[in-house]
């Protein structure tokens, strides 16, 4: 589903300043948008607003503008959680665990239970989702006995199992090891076209590998919104509040060199 924000602003209490201010952007259906910016820029607030959790949980908050998800237009934002059409993974994975199931298998299946999935189909979907994020070996473990990175994968599996049309991920690569990060890249690339993904990150690696739209926020304001090529071209402009140093060295070289493998790599990263 397409996501459109029109002059969307929000502050958490009447007397406070806007946490996000005047955001206008359109993410086409099947796109993957990275929301980047320093701490406090408004990344999490924006994801919560789109998911419906912001209006549902922060009743003293004040919003303006509108958010449209597919054909539905919400003014100023969805007032209830839009699960299962929209799936949200919070930054703090342990807050996402229901505690109602003693196994990872049960926890992953809980999201499907909530939408009344048929038992046989449910079992298949659970296994597929666990396989997708590489946690089949953890199926019978207690979610509360897992490491931070493992728990993050359980949350992702539970979300993927319900196949939401919009997937919102708040810093999904935070505690992941190299293999799990590579898996996340594969999953997000594989979702393209069917699912609209919006994810926040402090780092650039995941964004450059999977995103085709980039939203850069600073103090709640939109500093940049656009496609990959203009984003990479303007990378230096974000110095100081995004970790651009290493990529600023890599990109010009990737764009200029003509050795076949470098050209291939540049094409894969869509840098040229």
């Amino acid at each position: 589903m397409e996501i459109t924000l029109d002059r969307f602003s929000f502050h958490y209490a009447p007397s406070q300043q806007d946490v996000v201010s005047g955001i206008t952007m359109g993410i086409p259906k099947g796109s993957c948008c990275a929301v980047l910016g320093p701490t406090g820029a408004g990344k999490t607030t924006l994801l919560l607003a789109i998911s419906g959790a912001l209006a549902a949980h922060y009743s003293s908050g004040v919003g303006e503008g509108e958010i449209a998800i597919g054909p539905k237009v919400f003014r100023p934002m969805p007032d209830k959680i839009l699960f299962p059409e929209v799936g949200l993974a919070l930054q703090e994975s342990h807050l996402m665990i229901s505690g109602l199931h003693e196994t990872v298998r049960g926890e992953v299946g809980f999201s499907l239970e909530n939408i009344g999935t048929d038992t046989k189909v449910k079992e298949e979907k659970i296994v597929l989702a666990m396989e997708n994020v590489g946690i089949l070996h953890l199926a019978e473990r207690n979610p509360f006995m897992l490491s931070g990175g493992e728990l993050q994968r359980v949350v992702l599996a539970a979300l993927l199992a319900v196949q939401p049309a919009v997937l919102l991920l708040d810093e999904p690569s935070n505690s992941l090891d190299a293999e799990a990060t590579a898996m996340l890249v594969r999953i997000l690339r594989g979702l393209h076209k069917n699912t609209t993904v919006v994810f926040s990150d402090h780092q650039l690696d995941l964004a450059i590998l999977v995103a085709d739209r980039f939203l850069v926020l600073q103090d709640g304001e939109m500093v940049f919104f656009g496609e990959k090529k203009p984003f990479l071209k303007n990378l230096e402009q974000f110095k100081g509040f995004l970790p651009v140093d290493q990529w600023s060295k890599v990109i010009p070289q990737l764009s200029r060199k003509h050795a076949p493998h470098i050209r291939l790599l540049s094409r894969l990263l869509e840098i040229r």
């Binding site: 910016g37 320093p38 701490t39 406090g40 820029a41 930054q91 703090e92 342990h94 953890l138 473990r141 006995m145 897992l146 490491s147 931070g148 990175g149 493992e150 993050q152 994968r153 810093e171 935070n174 505690s175 992941l176 090891d177 190299a178 293999e179 799990a180 402090h202 690696d205 590998l209 100081g240 509040f241 995004l242 970790p243 290493q246 990529w247 060295k249 890599v250 070289q253 990737l254 060199k257 050795a259 493998h261 470098i262 790599l265």
Partner: protein, 251 residues
Amino acid sequence: MSISAKGVDFSYQTGSPVLQDFTMDLRRGECILMVGRNGAGKSTFLKLLNGILKPTKGEIYINGRNTATTPTSELAGHVAVTFQNPGDQIFSPTVRKEILFGPRNLRRENAEELTDRALTLLGLVSKASRHPYDLLPAERKLLTIASAVAMDTPLLAFDEPTGGLSQYEREIISNGLRQLKTDGRSFFIVTHDLDFFLPLATQVLVLSSGRVAYSAPAAELVRNAHLLRKYGVTLPLTTRLLRLLEIDSKS
């Protein structure tokens, strides 16, 4: 020796062993990174360091004190540990009180001064009177590190200290650690963020299935990066790309 672990086994009550025959030493002034897959046992080892968990076999000594027989209150004066999730360790009503709790409990005479220094070092002075839960997650992470630093222990052990931090907080931590290093502190850091920590590290331990699968000086790790893939450890993407481009320009 700040840390000496000899033949350590550990399992939680139910389940398979988390650490097996784990052996390592950390000398004063060193900074050791522990890397490895999710669930390799990294965070468990940190809980063994400050005595929250005890080895099922083998021994760990912190500044010569056996963690199995030394009270955790005494170990806390030698090693300060932060957890991956700040919510697991924050309980005071203000940022300042949270930081003060450690040094005051350890009866440090200059507890107030240590608290002020930690607030400054981690860029939290303007947040001192705020409730910790009014802070953003990244700021709460800085708070847990400030609380550990204020305990004024010779050894600091952090669990993914840069997880979820933006460029701004990463720079605060980088400057803070460099300053603490010149003060002679030792560090044991569990991380996936090699990009950030390799320049600070003296040695890297790769943990795989509860054992030290590979251990080398930090500089050597970069040269032998290809060996580490089987343990789920890779160098940062940009580091790998730059190496590839450099090789290409030489050839």
